[in-house]
Symmetry: C2
Subunit: 99 residues, 2 copies
DNA sequence: AATACCGGTAACCTGTAGGTTACTACAAAT
DNA sequence: ATTTGTAGTAACCTACAGGTTACCGGTATT
């Protein structure tokens, strides 16, 4: 869990999914994340080998992020977690927490 | 993940599993966790409804912790995570991290 | 030459998860 | 009376994940 844990990594991975997204697009999909934090997380995810960064020699500059094979292999796990999160058991907990 | 995340919660849940363990036994199974932290985590897990605490009116005092139904429903998810952690994909990442 | 677009970086700040160490409350056994 | 076993609590500390705000560097358009 120290690999894909933290506040943003699972969300970012989920946003990327099967697609290939630009920095700006990610920022737009997650308005609550700041430039700096997004940049950091993407760097870490790349270092961990969960995502791949492709820089296109265009203008204005363009960078796209996509899941690596390791990243893809993680998706079923994230889905399991998400579906537990949507289960009744988990929802009870969350509604208790909010009170 | 904010429910079962953190450094110790998944480990504690896994230690308890199907059994019913005393405070001291848990401490012994996880020598690296301090009394205070273990105590905190158990309280949180109980508040979250993932474990149940049973106090026996004996002497010396005796308290046993076991998984609640919610806790049990979480185990398959933890196992998924663990088995991803043992996959080749994840192991590569870990060996890179150690370097 | 100024402005806009894009993908960031620099400098700085803060709350809190997790840790250390020592102490406590209760009952039973010696 | 004092020691033992058990399950904690009190007081304190600290590193770091995550956040804010402002700025940078290259290119193309106006």
């Amino acid at each position: 869990m120290s690999i894909f844990g933290g506040k943003w990594k699972p969300i970012i991975l989920n946003c990327i999914g099967e697609s290939s997204l630009r920095f700006g697009k990610l920022n737009q999909l997650m308005p609550a994340i700041s430039n700096k934090v997004l940049s950091n997380e993407l760097k870490e995810l790349e270092t961990l080998g969960l995502i791949e960064r492709k820089e296109f020699k265009e203008s204005p500059q363009r960078v796209e992020y996509s899941l690596s094979d390791s990243g893809k292999s993680l998706m079923p796990v994230l889905h399991e977690i998400a579906s537990w999160g949507n289960s009744n058991q988990a929802k009870k907990i969350v509604t208790e927490m909010v009170k």
